[in-house]
């Protein structure tokens, strides 16, 4: 009936130990007993070794000394914009400050969108320094997730755009690492080919539309932008809004983007696609400004508004003399632009805040700033570097930037930025550009859902 005897014979034949004898059987109880015993022995051994530790050291004084001389170390979470930190920047920082960068991790912007709320929400101190920009500074700073700094912690000659990227409600939450402001890039050979003077770029929106129409010859279009996602659409609208002298909301946080200035701005923007039809239809599929650059560099778009690295990207295929760069043409004002500066902030839950602050200072130092300009084509965050001859020679955009800063430059970073600016405004701007809603209807629709959201934040944060 029971085949165990057969098994027993076969096990013996295989030379295995006797498993059926009471002495040799590894029963579950025996296994448990052995495990408990082993655990107990291990615990006693660990405890003993712990108590023995002082005898191997030279005493309490040595221990104290060791603590005080312990090298501070920080962990940094950055976006993937800059390579200078990995290419010698971290080494220089460690050499300069004696602080160790235990880890420097780069992620795409999209990954950070997910990572940072989880990191902060769980009060994690895994990273001491994190990437920030206008919207995150406002959202995470007001939530108490970023360490507030004093004004003495940031360089005195910070330019307004970079300063805006790390401040919210008069409070400083970080130090900028690079400045970024949109200017106009244009293809000089295409201007010449259309019989236009390449040294006289458009100075207002009417000229922009006229010149773009003159250069349009599909697949070449006069104008291209990145409105494929709501963020890009919001940026395009904000740029036009500022060029009309408008504002997103007033000082009491009342929505103003659907004012006549806003409607005028969106009408001008939509007309480029629907009336004048000079804008490349691809604009509505392009989700990132990086994707604008090959279109411009290939000569299939004559004019684009882009961040400073647009110059470096275009230089990969175009000669410097063919790249035109000027301030953004205005609609009812001479010019205006949007800011995209970024910086570093200190995680409020960090245990190495002093060391982290040293990193922030280092990022804005002349050493780091010069490298960011020369090697990566971003703008410096301080005014003192704006006129250095070698920087201007390497990055002609700096001159235009200097001129652009004479006009309004804003981004309207706020705790409600993602939901209101990107979500409601961006979505309805696309609807207007697609011709599904009139500019006024689109903005009114966005305003009707935006104001309650803003009011909730304002009330909760006691901003009024």
């Amino acid at each position: 009936m029971e085949p165990q005897t057969h098994d027993h014979t076969s096990v013996e034949a295989a030379g295995q130990p006797e498993v059926t004898s009471p002495e040799g059987q590894l029963s579950r109880r025996r296994f448990l007993g052995l495990s408990v015993s082993a655990g107990a022995v291990a615990a006693v051994a660990a405890g003993a070794s712990h108590f023995k530790m002082p005898s191997h050291s030279t005493g309490t004084s040595t221990k104290r000394a060791s603590t005080s001389t312990k090298r501070a170390s920080i962990n940094i979470l950055d976006d993937n914009t800059n390579d200078v930190w990995l290419n010698g920047g971290i080494d220089q920082f460690e050499k300069q400050t004696g602080i160790k960068v235990a880890s420097y991790e780069q992620m795409s912007f999209e990954e950070l969108v997910i990572k940072l709320p989880i990191l902060f929400g769980s009060h994690s101190s895994s990273y001491d320094v994190v990437d920030t920009w206008a919207a995150w500074t406002a959202a995470y700073g007001s939530a108490g997730w970023l360490q507030q700094l004093s004004t003495s912690d940031i360089p005195a000659d910070l330019l307004p755009g970079p300063r805006d990227a790390v401040t919210w409600g008069g409070m400083v939450f970080g130090v900028p690492k690079y400045a970024s402001v949109e200017t106009m890039f244009y293809n000089k050979p295409l201007f010449e080919k259309a019989g236009l003077d390449p040294d006289k770029p458009p100075t207002n929106w009417v000229e922009l539309a006229t010149m773009a129409a003159a250069m349009k010859n599909p697949p070449i279009y006069g104008y291209v932008s990145d409105e494929g996602n709501t963020e890009g659409a919001y940026q395009a609208f904000l740029r036009a809004l500022l060029c009309c002298g408008g504002e997103m909301w007033d000082s009491n946080y009342n929505v103003r983007f659907n004012s006549p200035a806003g409607v005028n701005a969106l009408t001008h923007l939509a007309d480029l696609f629907l009336v004048q039809k000079v804008a490349d239809p691809a604009s509505l599929s392009i989700m990132n400004s990086i994707d604008l650059n090959p279109i411009f560099a290939d000569g299939t778009a004559a004019i684009m508004f882009d961040w400073p690295y647009g110059y470096a990207a275009a230089r990969a295929k175009m000669s410097a003399k063919d790249i035109g760069n000027a301030i953004i043409p205005g609609i009812t004002v001479r010019s205006a632009s949007i800011d995209g500066s970024a910086g570093f902030a200190i995680n409020a839950f960090s245990t190495e805040k002093s060391a982290a602050l040293e990193w922030l200072r280092f990022a804005a130092s002349p050493y780091a700033q010069r490298r960011i300009v020369l090697e990566e084509g971003w703008l410096p965050v301080t005014s003192s570097l704006l006129h250095e001859p070698d920087l201007v020679a390497a990055l002609p955009v700096i001159t235009t930037y200097g001129e652009q800063t004479k006009y309004v430059i804003k981004r309207y970073g706020a705790p409600w930025y993602d939901q209101v600016c990107e979500g409601y405004v961006g979505t309805n701007v696309v609807k207007a550009v697609l011709g599904q809603l009139s500019p006024k209807a689109a903005l009114d629709q966005a305003a009707s859902v935006s104001q309650p959201v803003i009011d909730t934040f304002v009330k909760s944060m006691k901003l009024k």
């Binding site: 691809a282 994707d291 979505t427």
Partner: protein, 321 residues
């Protein structure tokens, strides 16, 4: 029986009476064994609880709370977040888009997968290689699939426009993801590309279980191709087919990766499905309460769909009884 009759073999296991600690009663030992067995399941239970039950419970808790300014839900609102969803135009729109996306990926997807499976069920040279190659789209990570199709659809230098222009089918670049309807269909196509192969292999395995004798008998009886498919193949592969429908439906209801990479929910929410909207609310707007309530809605919808399919699978058997 014969083993017991053999005198030279010792007893297989010593009885309790043979053991030195015979004073331990059998009942107590059994109880100890039961406790020991239960103890061994504790680590597994802890893991399951932490990775499955806790997140689900936490999501339900989040969905019943509204956000503080910090983005962390603190105030109990009951079903307020759920009620608010039905006044949210984007949510209503995303329900419609999710259903559309599910229909256009499930029905054509299974039909194409079945056709592919029937093709692969025939003997031809390179069949094994074809089966292996078919797995590539399915084995490709969702984000890689998204990036691939994002590049293919790129209006300026995407291969799709290049090919169409070269063939003279179009005379200008098409903005594939520039309008809502086209973008949603483009994303659905990318999803189909990724999932059809797996479904085809599932159905191929089912097709190979169809008895050849049955198939031949039907042919001898004069059944045509369509009739053989309807009366021989379909009943045999019924359950794998329902399984394929079930899995594909679940995947389509929960779609996120390809949308995130190809269109980011745009243009103008044109590809914002329920799952993407849950992500947007949670991680972009920091409305974790609203985001969680959408996630719960998706989970419940998936659960009911699964139950529906299960009823479909069980019903014939119940009737047979």
């Amino acid at each position: 029986m014969s083993f017991q009759a053999e005198p030279e073999f010792p007893a297989a296991r010593p009885t309790d009476a043979d053991r030195p600690r015979a004073n331990v009663s059998a009942a107590r030992r059994r109880r100890l064994d039961q406790w020991f067995g239960a103890g061994l399941t504790v680590p597994a239970l802890l893991v399951i609880t932490s990775v499955f039950a806790f997140p689900v419970c936490y999501a339900v808790w989040l969905s019943l709370h509204s956000n503080s300014v910090e983005g962390l839900p603190t105030q109990f609102v009951g079903f307020g977040n759920y009620v608010a969803l039905f006044h949210d135009g984007v949510f209503i729109g995303s329900v419609g888009r999710t259903l559309y996306f599910t229909v256009v990926t499930v029905i054509p997807g299974i039909a194409l997968a079945l056709g592919l499976a029937m093709l692969l069920n025939r003997q031809f040279r390179g069949r094994a290689v074809a089966c292996v190659l078919m797995l590539v789209p399915w084995a490709t990570p969702e984000v890689s699939t998204g990036i691939t199709w994002h590049l293919i659809y790129n209006p300026a230098y995407g291969i799709l426009n290049v090919v169409l222009l070269k063939l003279g089918i179009v005379n200008h670049n098409i903005s594939w993801t520039g309008t809502q309807n086209l973008a949603l269909n483009c994303v659905a196509f990318a999803q189909l590309w990724a999932l059809i192969p797996f479904m085809a292999l599932v159905l191929l395995a089912a097709l190979q279980r169809v008895p050849l004798s049955l198939y031949r008998a039907a042919r001898v009886d004069g059944a045509g191709s369509l009739s053989r498919f309807r009366h021989v193949i379909l009943p045999t592969i019924r359950y794998p087919l329902v399984f394929a429908f079930l899995v594909q439906t679940m995947w389509s209801l929960r779609v996120f990766g390809v949308i995130y990479v190809i269109t980011s929910g745009g243009p103008a929410n044109g590809t914002t499905t329920l799952n993407y909207y849950a992500f947007e609310q949670s991680f972009e707007y920091l409305n974790f309460g609203t985001g969680s309530s959408i996630a719960i809605v998706v989970a419940v919808a998936t659960l009911f769909t699964t139950l529906g399919y299960l009823v479909l699978m069980i019903q014939p058997r119940s009737k047979a009884k």
